[in-house]
């Protein structure tokens, strides 16, 4: 328990991932669903950086592929948050609600 290994970080990442999944599946407020998606992406980033540290131990000090991947994921998350919030604003302007259940205009 006391010596922190890669597995500790992976378990923490899995816990955050589960919290994000629960948030996405159960909340009705679109903004909070988007924030849960950010939580999921952060859990993935934690996994990547933990693996990068592990990989660095095997393949030498310059094997930082996990960290580079994590930077790209953060960039991706920024782009996705911007577009998602743009969609949210466009939707809110039409329907005056941020309830996920009301996004049903394409239902037959």
């Amino acid at each position: 328990m006391l010596h922190i290994t890669t597995l500790h970080y992976l378990v923490l990442g899995a816990a955050l991932f589960l919290l994000g999944v629960i948030g996405v599946l159960t909340r009705r407020n679109v903004v909070i669903v988007l924030m849960s998606i950010e939580l999921i992406l952060n859990a993935v980033n934690l996994n990547l950086v933990a693996f990068s540290r592990y990989w660095q131990g095997i393949h030498g000090p310059t094997a930082l592929h996990g960290q580079v991947f994590a930077i790209f994921v953060i960039t991706d998350a920024a782009a996705e948050a911007a577009v998602g919030l743009g969609i949210l604003i466009a939707f809110f302007r039409n329907k005056e609600t941020v309830n996920v259940d009301e996004v049903n205009l394409l239902k037959w």
């Binding site: 899995a14 589960l18 407020n29 909070i32 920024a78 996920v100």
Partner: protein, 187 residues
């Protein structure tokens, strides 16, 4: 002499690493729980900011200072400001009085629990008595972290991610244009 800042495996790290890991992990988990349970979206956003900052500190513990810096600037200082702006521009008081959790909450939690079980099953597998990610290797310090990441991105011979870097910048351009078009009143 320690040119690459190598720390032999098994020696004690200089600061109280288990204490800080468990403290930061507790902050992150509590923050995550608050994100998905708060009625008020601003409270959720602030809990998420706390989680992100604790995660940046965890990145520092993993000897990844550049990723920690990027996390603080982009995630906590950029994306969350965007979230807070949007929450404040759409008046969200009516959303607070509605029911917060949808009708499928039980199914959602069961699905997440199944996923959790899968994680536990994977993380506790041992092949031939060896755990999944065995320890016992040299670890390196972080005095050249930015330069090494730059080498992976930009170096002529050793860099592999130049194309991904250019695609990421194109992606950001498309996202900017898309967000502006989405949020305009009349196209």
């Amino acid at each position: 002499m320690n040119p690459a800042g190598m720390i032999p495996a098994g020696t004690n790290p200089p600061v109280a690493t288990p204490f800080f890991f468990y403290l930061l992990a507790a902050i992150m988990v509590v923050g995550g729980v608050m994100v998905i349970t708060r009625k008020n979206a601003v409270h959720s956003a602030m809990a998420l900011i706390t989680t992100l900052l604790a995660q940046a500190a965890l990145y520092l513990m993993l000897y990844a200072p550049f990723v920690a810096g990027v996390q603080i600037i982009l995630y906590a200082g950029g994306i969350m400001v965007l979230f807070l702006f949007v929450i404040m521009l759409i008046s969200i008081e009516r959303a607070e009085k509605e029911r917060q959790f949808n009708k499928q909450w039980l199914v959602g939690i069961v699905a997440a629990a199944a996923l959790g079980g899968l994680f536990i099953a994977v993380y506790t597998t041992t092949t031939k008595g060896r755990a999944l990610f065995p320890e016992g290797r040299m670890t390196y310090g972080e005095t050249q972290n930015t330069q090494q990441i730059a080498a992976l991105l930009f170096d002529r011979t050793a860099g592999q991610y130049m194309f991904a870097f250019e695609i990421a910048s194109l992606l950001l351009l498309v996202a900017i244009i898309g967000a502006v078009v989405m949020a305009k009143k009349r196209i």
